[in-house]
């Protein structure tokens, strides 16, 4: 379901776009330097949960949008997993039609305020930008502009609700309420379906709520996007575990004709090294869930959290960065990243690494934990780490870390957060023995249609991919909706 070239061309030839292009020469546009987003001061932000990136103001956004050349062949769109019509919304910003810009985003994206904040644009849309590809200059700040348009609309209070097809009274169910399901739900509601989202936790949003911290993605922004889904008729049921509270068969009996599972990869991995179950050693999922979902740092809430003074976070992904920066905010004097490769190989976004460094996080690279030691109460007090060196590239294309014998040394710690990856949640596969899964526990789907081995069950996001990104999950949800629509339409015709 890719956007047709003819359609894009037709849109590009609209009078307002032609006029806008005529206003400035390309040379003038390319001479404008990329705008920098204001950030909260590192000293101030490490003592609060305020959002670090402050967003663009109107003049900054318009100036940045002016840089965009409105290319005849907009390669940026191919870099976006949900294929937002990027030049169209960017040009609406240049034209100062900010609410129109927000409308363009909503044509393709269910969660623009979220994606503008958490997508790794440097690997997606911005990597395909003409500036990156041909001019060897900084790309258009597409992510910043997306965020600007979505925030502008929210703050203006003039929400546009996407148009929906007349109701077809066909019930479909989403399992899980993370980015994949929310996107699927939005797309199906636009097509006229009666959509219900079932969520195991007491809050909607999945990783957007329990995982990504307030300083990167405030919960109230996620709530606004969820509210928009309610406005187009999506129903939400919390505290409901499909396969447990009721089975898929029970739901079929209630008239649900299609199921989409975006139940995610929520199962944390541990390393299996001695002492890993001592008190004070926890998964990043537990650590972040306590702080983000349960608001444990707030004395008014009932959920406790360990606020360590010497915190080691094991891993080099975005979750590790979120955890270590959270540790600083909880009052850690020493917040350390322990990662077995070098800083260049870290899977975390460069921006997150930079923010962590500014906030005083220590990076212990080429270093891996091998054992933990505890006091007489079983509380972790030290960890033994081993130095590593990089060898030949492995299957993932990254250079393999090789332990250096005899290089072990001890580090004093009182809290360890293990952030070495997640596995697919087994709840859905466990409740459906006939469902085909891989040996890693991910659900097997047709690559084009996202249909599983059970014909009325579609799946997308991390339950299919293992731990991936928010935007890939959203892309899956969008494509799964299109193919479930086709599946149900064909079935009703026959």
């Amino acid at each position: 379901m890719s956007v047709s070239k003819e359609y894009l061309k037709e849109q590009r030839e609209q009078a307002w776009r032609v006029e806008l292009r005529g206003k400035k020469k390309n040379k003038e546009r390319t001479a404008i330097p990329r705008v920098k987003m204001t950030e909260a001061d590192p000293n101030e932000r490490t003592h609060s949960y305020i959002e670090v990136n402050r967003g663009l103001n109107i003049e900054e956004a318009v100036k940045e949008a002016t840089r965009c050349l409105d290319c005849p062949n907009p390669t940026c769109i191919t870099g976006c997993p949900v294929e937002i019509n990027i030049p169209k919304f960017v040009k609406r910003i240049e034209q100062r039609e900010f609410l129109e810009a927000a409308k363009v985003l909503k044509e393709s994206s269910t969660l623009p305020a979220v994606c503008g904040r958490v997508c790794p644009q440097e690997k997606q849309c911005e990597a395909q930008c003409f500036y990156t590809q041909k001019l060897n200059q900084d790309p258009i700040a597409i992510g910043h502009l997306e965020r600007f348009a979505a925030d502008y609309e929210r703050e203006s209070g003039h929400f546009s609700v996407p148009e929906t097809a007349p109701s077809n009274n066909i019930k479909v169910a989403c399992i899980g309420a993370g980015p994949a399901s929310l996107t699927f739900a939005g797309e199906m509601a636009k097509l006229g379906y009666d959509v219900t989202v079932f969520e195991a936790l007491h809050e909607i949003g999945g990783v957007l709520k329990y995982g990504i911290p307030e300083f990167r993605l405030p919960n109230h922004i996620v709530d606004v996007e969820i509210e928009n889904l309610r406005k187009i008729g999506v129903k939400f049921v919390t505290n409901f575990i499909v396969g447990r509270t009721a089975s898929i068969d029970d739901l079929r009996e209630e008239g649900f004709q299609g199921f989409f599972t975006g139940s995610g990869a929520g199962l944390p991995r541990f390393m299996g090294i001695p002492g890993e179950n001592y008190i004070g050693i926890l998964s990043s999922n537990e650590y972040l869930t306590r702080v983000n979902l349960m608001d444990a740092a707030n004395p008014e809430t009932d959920t406790p959290i360990i606020s360590g003074k010497r915190v080691a976070v094991i891993g080099g992904g975005n979750t590790a960065m979120d955890s270590v920066r959270t540790a600083r905010r909880l009052g850690a004097d020493r917040a350390m990243i322990i990662y077995r490769r070098s800083i260049e190989e870290m899977p975390a976004r460069k921006e997150e690494v930079k923010h962590a460094q500014e906030e005083g996080v220590e990076f212990l690279n080429l270093c891996n934990p091998v054992e933990y030691f505890a006091d007489e109460k079983g509380r972790v007090k030290q960890m033994k780490v081993q130095k590593m060196e990089l060898g030949e590239p492995d299957a993932s294309g990254r250079r393999r870390p090789i332990p250096l014998e005899g290089s072990e040394y001890l580090i004093d710690v009182d809290t360890v957060v293990v952030s070495v990856g997640v596995s697919p949640n087994p709840l859905i596969p466990d409740s459906l023995p006939e469902l085909e899964v891989t040996r890693w526990g991910t659900i097997v789907v047709n690559e084009d249609t996202f249909q599983s081995s059970i014909p009325d069950l579609f799946a997308g996001g991390d339950i299919v991919r293992g731990g991936a990104t928010v935007i890939l999950a959203m892309g899956d949800g969008r494509r799964a909706a299109a193919s479930m629509h086709e599946y149900i339409s064909n079935k009703t015709k026959n």
Partner: protein
């Protein structure tokens, strides 16, 4: 949703509540638990389902006042609603016809033991149940347990009711006089540890139902992890029941105390209000 329809005080600190949850009542099996949250500022805590009535669409929970969350839950009255209630969670108890089953319950652990005793009896086993408590007032659900047991032995630490002594003394007595094929134990960790040591001596297969610290209860965080046979398992999805002879009880007890200072802080804050 989740309205409390019945409340009964077993003792000053132990309360039984019956709550509306028709879907859970229908789908739960012996050994399953639920996660509850009281109030918008509340934490998520696990409670084993003590019974269910499919017709009425209710489940019953037995709660002991321990900290902030259980106090808030015990203070709810008939007509109040529990903010969040999700389940059924965990693997159900594997019930077979094995012959004679020795069921050992301590304190409020008797509540989750009750549906298991009932299921064992209905599966055609001879069931001998030992109820243990510190003193007479803390013996709960005796009549209900009697209904599904061939014999009930009550043990109290202070001898104020039944026989004086620890649960293991009662167990030894039964094992001495008849062949026991299987044992199940639910109660404080220290009690389950000694039950397991007792049956291990006699090579009687034993399962223990663990009450670990949990957050989500769906396998997402690993707060409830426990070492069983040298391997890390998650109590919420792999358990809560495990082979009692393979559980590292000392590690489990240490982990249960993992948030003690932080929990006390929350409790003091709660009491000040």
């Amino acid at each position: 949703m989740n309205k409390i329809v019945e409340k009964e005080h077993f003792s000053e600190r132990v309360v039984k509540i019956v709550v509306e949850a028709p879907l859970i009542a229908k789908s739960r099996k012996p050994g399953n638990f639920v996660i509850v949250r009281v109030g918008e500022q509340g934490e998520r805590i696990p409670l084993t389902i003590a019974g269910a009535d499919i017709q009425k669409g209710t489940i019953s929970l037995v709660v002991q006042k321990m900290g902030v969350s259980t106090t808030k839950l015990c203070d709810l009255e008939v007509g109040d609603c529990i903010t969040d209630l999700v389940g059924p969670l965990g693997q159900p108890t594997e019930i077979h016809q094995v012959g004679t089953v020795l069921a050992c319950g301590g304190g409020v652990g008797v509540a989750p033991l009750l549906p298991i005793v009932e299921a064992y009896k209905k599966a055609g086993n001879r069931v001998v149940t030992i109820l243990a408590a510190r003193s007479k007032e803390l013996v709960i659900l005796e009549d209900e347990v009697r209904k599904w047991s061939d014999e009930v032995i009550v043990m109290t630490d202070d001898g104020s009711y039944g026989k004086k002594g620890l649960i293991t003394e009662g167990m030894e007595e039964v094992i001495r006089r008849e062949k026991v094929d299987e044992c199940v134990t639910i109660g404080p960790a220290i009690m389950m540890k000694f039950c397991a040591l007792t049956t291990k001596k006699h090579a009687i297969p034993t399962v223990a139902s663990l009450n670990a610290i949990m957050v989500d209860g769906t396998g997402m965080c690993g707060a409830c992890r426990v070492t069983v046979g040298g391997k890390t398992r998650f109590t919420c999805v792999d358990g809560p029941e495990f082979d009692a002879h393979k559980i590292d009880f000392d590690e489990m007890m240490a982990r249960l105390a993992g948030y003690k200072p932080e929990e006390q802080e929350k409790m003091e804050h709660f009491l000040q209000q």
